[in-house]
């Protein structure tokens, strides 16, 4: 199910659309506390608000910088490009949407995969970017992540995937997107059978078919604070049951309370938490 009704990763309380990617302006408004904060300072804090610690959007490229040791990322399967298998047209042709998203984000599709080092531990690493068609999973994201899992299995590497997807399975590729969920889950099942360690990190937002496949299948599931995580989008639920949703529903804290994630990890601590987990699991 593709979820997520807004095209932006988050919306500030005053209704203004926050900028995607690293902010260009000198100042920016925090979507969490509305404080005007110095952009440079925010960037130094890995896009966390210096005032309230709200975890803002981070691009896939910046994720790599935050989590992997400098210069160690080696990209795999960069040659995979999205196509338009259905000839999908809504208000816009999918093929044009892909071109504009590629131009805007500098990504070929919503995921980057490869290998790299985390505090000198070699890992297979994948990250989705919630800015590229809402971080939704189509054939390319599914194929890249499946190949990543298969290489991690072959090379016996710990696997780390950082998810950010408000879109879940990508509607524009129809049933093919849905089937990517089964494809990756099957690859992860084999990886697990071989004794592989998979650390899944959920970030804001992780919804729909992404949440209902690889993101939930980690041996360890970590989440950034206050991320929106769930199966059905809040608006879908509200439309179905016609009551207002409780405060904090579908947040990381809500999931922790209900037993679905192992730890909430602040962004600046993520790298060392992953390294520690790998050590505990002896990988």
């Amino acid at each position: 199910m593709a979820i997520g009704q807004s095209e932006t990763p988050a919306r500030s309380p005053n209704g203004a659309r926050p900028k995607r990617g690293v902010p260009e302006g000198l100042w920016l408004a925090c979507p969490g506390c509305s404080a005007t904060v110095f952009a440079k300072e925010t960037e130094r804090c890995m896009n966390c608000c210096p005032e309230c610690d709200y975890h803002m959007y981070v691009s896939a490229r910046d994720r790599i910088r935050h989590v992997l040791d400098d210069g160690t990322f080696e990209e795999w399967d960069a040659e995979l490009l999205p196509a338009d298998p259905l000839g999908f047209i809504d208000k816009k042709r999918y093929i044009d949407r892909l071109a504009s998203e590629q131009a805007r984000t500098g990504m070929r599709d919503a995921a980057l995969t490869g290998c790299g080092m985390i505090r000198a531990r070699r890992v297979a690493f994948g990250v989705t970017d919630s800015a590229f068609i809402m971080g939704s999973m189509g054939s390319v994201v599914g194929e890249r992540l499946t190949r990543l899992v298969e290489r991690a299995t072959e090379q016996d590497l710990p696997l780390v995937i950082i998810s950010g997807s408000g879109g879940g399975a990508r509607m524009h590729e129809g049933i093919l997107s849905l089937m990517q969920m089964a494809k990756i889950s099957a690859a992860l099942a084999r990886f697990s059978e071989m004794g592989g360690l998979f650390i899944s990190v959920l970030t804001n937002p992780t919804m729909g078919g992404v949440a209902a496949s690889f993101a939930s299948l980690g041996d360890l599931v970590y989440a950034e604070p206050k991320a929106l995580i769930g199966f059905a989008g809040p608006r879908t639920i509200e439309a179905t049951i016609r009551i207002e949703l409780p405060e904090g529903f579908q947040t990381s804290e809500f999931l922790l309370e209900h037993g679905y994630i192992d730890r909430i990890v602040r962004r600046p601590d993520l790298k060392s938490e992953i390294a520690r987990t790998i050590d505990y699991c002896g990988k």
């Binding site: 490009l81 729909g208 059905a232």
Partner: protein
């Protein structure tokens, strides 16, 4: 015969002829002329039905798939299987009514049957949330499928759901996690698994019991990443564009076969399954028996390798020759 309450507008010419045929059949005594007219009307009815059903668009097919009189899981448990011994409960939270599991007999084969139940009466429909399963449904299905694997019983899953239930309790009890875990589990079960979409193949709720060695779909069923209404709401900003979304999503059986999402399309009787549930059940039974016999011939390791490969190859993308100017 279609009940008066739920009529499909595109079936109007069929209803009119069906009514006329019924009138003629009821007229006694029948003159030679009347017999002749009856024969002609029956022929016309068959022709019109064939024409209507050969020209359905994607949205009309979705409506046939959802049609209240369409045979459901509970009909097939009676018509396809010799026995259905329901096994309840996930032994953790509850017994979901939208996803039912149990032992069943398919001729000489003892199997585990798993299926979505939409209900027939309003009471039943409410009990099973119109076929939308909660996490306890998927937990139950997983538990019974593991049981089947332990005792070497093949598994048959009949899929018919608008989607997994979107609600507070469902989220609290890990809807996303159980669907993921179910696909993960099914990919490794060392017994044959046959999945057939008999009505609605609604997104993750369908795929949650949809990882099999063979996946079939009835001719007028659909299988989609999202409901046409949901897709229209997001991409067209209005549910009114469901018809356009249905077309764009390529969710009909012929599209699914072409895209490699399903392996087989099971042809429906003239005028779709709801006109002749018994004939539909017979065709489904033949399909299940034939497929099961084929799968039982395959050694376990090979079966699992093929199941993996079946899903592994799905997807459509462009793969350029590795270049050096990627950035």
């Amino acid at each position: 015969m279609a009940s008066e309450a739920f009529r499909l507008d595109f079936e109007e010419p069929i209803y009119a002829l069906e009514k006329r045929v019924r009138q003629l059949e009821a007229t006694e005594p029948k003159s030679a002329q009347l017999h002749e007219e009856l024969r002609a009307k029956r022929r016309e009815l068959a022709d019109v039905t064939r024409t209507v059903y050969s020209q359905l668009d994607a949205w009309q097919i979705v409506r046939v798939a959802r049609y209240p009189d369409r045979p459901k899981f509970s009909d097939y448990t009676n018509m396809v299987f010799d026995e259905f011994v329901e096994l309840h409960g996930d032994k953790f939270y509850g017994d979901d009514r939208a996803l039912q599991t149990g032992f069943a007999k398919l001729n000489e084969y003892k199997i585990l049957l798993v299926g979505h139940q939409k209900g027939k009466t309003l009471k039943e429909r409410n009990e099973c949330y119109f076929g939308c399963a909660h996490p306890e449904g998927y937990r139950k299905a997983m538990a019974k499928m593991r049981l089947a694997a332990k005792f070497k019983m093949p598994i048959i899953c009949l899929i018919d759901t608008p989607g997994a239930y979107p609600g507070i309790g469902a989220e609290e009890r890990g809807q996303a996690q159980v669907i993921a875990e179910s696909m993960f589990t099914m990919s490794l079960l060392p017994v044959p698994i046959i999945c057939v979409v008999i009505g609605e193949g609604g997104s993750g709720g369908a795929l949650g019991i949809g990882v099999g060695d063979r996946v079939g779909v009835l001719q007028f069923a659909y299988y989609s990443v999202i409901s046409p209404e949901g897709c229209a709401g997001i991409l067209w900003k209005s549910h009114k564009f469901a018809e356009d979304a249905a077309r764009a999503l390529r969710l009909t059986s012929d599209n699914l076969l072409e895209l490699g999402a399903v392996d087989d399309v099971i042809e429906e009787p003239l005028g779709a399954a709801h006109r002749n549930p018994h004939q539909m059940a017979t065709r489904l039974k033949i399909y299940l028996l034939r497929t099961l016999r084929e799968l039982l011939e395959i050694p376990e390791e090979e079966l699992l390798a093929r199941r993996y490969a079946r899903f592994r190859r799905i997807g459509h993308f462009i793969e350029e020759a590795p270049a050096c100017d990627l950035d």
